[in-house]
């Protein structure tokens, strides 16, 4: 028992030292990118597995971005699928109708980016009601938004109406998914560890106190909604070009519920939790596929049990050191050292 404990400690310390190295993240990212390019090019990974990895990536983007609103800002948005739909349709319309056939692969990142920007614009509009209403009323606003998006798409024949949109090439490849996933995690991590991000957190903790501590709460909410919806749009663009087919029903409230489950499973206000939640949920659903319908009976039960025993999710309100910026830790250490060397005469 004691030996197991010491062994655990030594390995934990080794892991901590390793992850605290400056080259840790660059190494991991390079390796990941190299692997995804190789897997894409030489097909040594089963296509089915590749597809699952793509879905894991898309779900990580969705979960991290929704966690910004629901976890870090403490609102309850159920409209994430709506933003995803905006991104998916924008990107697909560009690749199907606007881009010349030969340049599709080259221009694909632009299509995804355009999807993200379109979703961000809508996100800005949804942020406005959040100035005044909170909690359940904001939940309804996002719910209504999600249903309006679906309803509008069903009524525009140019985008296929209720039948949906076809004709996208399979442009979502492993390297692109890896790139966008890493980017979304990195950007949201950056935001959270900045004073704007702390502003987002302070809105969750106590909005009135935040305002009285000079936090421009409106600015903070706009930033959070824009960033969150931007990445939901990115995920939508990737999703559309992985499945090569979209219709309005894919982006209804059930899709939002899926993302909500991943957020709260992994844990609120945690980057690591979002990644864990998305990975576990997606992979578990695949593993349980042989169960057929009973899979979706079993999963919700698991969620309920988890909520009862861990109401804040696996990593709720905690973060691994992995995602804390090294510069921030370095500043604090530096200050501590200086203080030790020259203890000042504060009262």
């Amino acid at each position: 028992m004691i030996r197991a404990k010491t062994a655990y400690r030594t390995w934990r310390d080794r892991w901590r030292r390793l992850t605290a190295r400056k080259y840790f993240w660059p190494a991991v990212l390079t390796a990941g990118l190299a692997f995804s390019i190789a897997a894409d090019k030489y097909d040594f990974v089963d296509l089915y597995v590749q597809l699952i990895i793509i879905y894991v990536g898309i779900n990580i983007i969705l979960t991290v971005s929704l966690n910004l609103i629901n976890g870090y800002m403490g609102e309850f948005s159920v409209g994430h699928a709506g933003f995803m739909a905006v991104g998916a349709y924008t990107a697909s319309l560009l690749t199907v109708y606007a881009f010349p056939p030969g340049l599709q692969q080259l221009l694909f990142p632009l299509a995804v980016l355009a999807g993200g920007l379109a979703a961000a614009l809508i996100g800005f509009l949804v942020a406005i009601p959040s100035f005044k209403t909170r909690g359940d009323y904001l939940a309804i606003v996002t719910l209504a938004f999600c249903m309006i998006v679906k309803s509008v798409l069903e009524n525009i024949d140019a985008v296929g109406g209720p039948r949906g949109l076809l004709g996208m090439e399979k442009l979502t490849t492993l390297p692109w998914v890896f790139f966008w996933t890493a980017l979304s995690v990195w950007v949201i991590r950056n935001l959270v560890y900045s004073n704007f991000g702390r502003g987002v957190l302070s809105v969750r903790e106590d909005e009135i106190a935040a305002d009285l501590m000079s936090v421009n709460t409106r600015q903070v909410k706009i930033i959070a909604f824009i960033v969150s919806s931007f990445f939901a749009g990115i995920a939508g663009g990737l999703f559309a070009h992985a499945l090569q087919f979209i219709n309005p029903r894919m982006f209804d409230i059930i899709k939002s519920t899926d993302v909500l489950i991943m957020v709260y499973l992994g844990g609120i206000a945690s980057i690591a939790g979002s990644v864990i939640g998305a990975v576990i949920y997606t992979i578990l659903l695949e593993i349980l596929r042989p169960l057929g319908v009973w899979r979706m009976v079993f999963m919700p039960l698991l969620l309920v049990v988890l909520m009862i025993y861990r109401p804040r999710g696996i990593m709720g309100l905690r973060e691994t050191r992995l995602f804390e910026p090294l510069s921030d830790l370095a500043t604090i250490t530096l200050w501590r050292q200086k203080k030790k060397e020259a203890p000042d005469g504060a009262p």
Partner: protein
């Protein structure tokens, strides 16, 4: 003009069903400040109970309605005890997610047992009366009258009985009520029983009016009823009724005068406008902020 009244009647029918479901949301919210997102699925279970009782036990309308209500009420109380009670002190969102999980469970469990949509046999003889150009079916009248009757009974319970007073007291201040010798657990169970029982009744009435049922029927209807509760001012029983009738009227009237695919779009846009104008619903009041 007759067309308008005809549609108004349809609106009353749909609205009364929405209102019955919205009551369940609002009662639970009022007492626990928790959104029971499984409520729409309990409504669906009500419809399936109706199917089971009517088809396999060949019961007539009244026992079917009563037993379905009772069954759903029991289920509601059990769900509260097993899934929600342990989370009363947890962050509010955990309870909401649990409710979403319970809802998913009910949907898919029903789906696993009954993969195809079911057809409800006509439990009552449907007579159609013609008044001028207006045709009124006995079914429509029954749905409206029964819903209104149930709502009146509920209103009486909430405002005129001791249990109702305890409910209102708990929704006002949860910490002080136990000191008055009221068992909070009992009152919460009672609230769940009544709220979900009304949802079960709505399920039966809905499946009489629109006789094809499937396990996912509760999702959209449930979210819409939740919207009704919010529009009326969540936590407010009379508000939920008003919200139900408003949404029913909007949906039917939009479908009557525009292409039916515009129904959801117009309904939800109106809802957004209303919430921006009255951020706390029609009968809701903002909680005063203490600083």
């Amino acid at each position: 003009m007759a067309y308008f009244f005809q549609q108004l009647l349809n609106a009353l029918q749909l609205g009364s069903i929405y209102a019955l479901i919205a009551l369940g949301y609002t009662m639970v919210y009022g007492i626990l400040t928790m959104i029971n997102f499984a409520h729409g699925d309990l409504f669906m279970v009500g419809a399936f109970f109706c199917f089971l009782l009517a088809v396999y036990l060949k019961l007539s309308f009244v026992p079917t309605l009563l037993l379905s209500m009772l069954g759903v009420a029991c289920l509601g109380v059990i769900i509260e005890r097993l899934a929600y009670k342990p989370l009363r002190t947890a962050p509010r969102v955990s309870a909401i997610i649990t409710a979403l999980g319970v809802g998913l469970f009910l949907e898919n469990f029903t789906l696993a047992l009954s993969p195809y949509p079911k057809h409800i046999p006509p439990l009552l003889k449907n007579v159609t009366w013609t008044v001028g150009e207006l045709s009124i079916s006995s079914l429509q009248v029954l749905v409206i009258v029964l819903s209104l009757g149930l709502m009146l009974i509920l209103d009486f319970v909430v405002w005129r009985t001791k249990a109702g007073m305890a409910m209102r007291a708990i929704s006002w201040d949860k910490t002080i009520v136990p000191l008055m010798g009221v068992s909070v657990n009992k009152i919460i169970s009672l609230t769940f029983a009544i709220g979900t029982g009304l949802g079960g009744a709505a399920g039966v009435l809905y499946s009489l009016a629109y006789p094809v049922i499937d396990p996912y029927m509760g999702i959209m209807v449930g979210w819409k009823a939740f919207i009704c509760a919010v529009v009326g001012g969540i936590g407010n029983v009379r508000g939920a009724m008003i919200g139900g009738f408003i949404l029913g009227a909007v949906e039917i009237l939009v479908a009557a005068f525009f292409p039916s695919t515009y129904r959801d779009f117009v309904a939800f846009t109106l809802l957004l406008v209303l919430l921006i104008l009255k951020p706390y619903g029609i009968l809701g009041r903002p909680q005063p902020q203490k600083v």
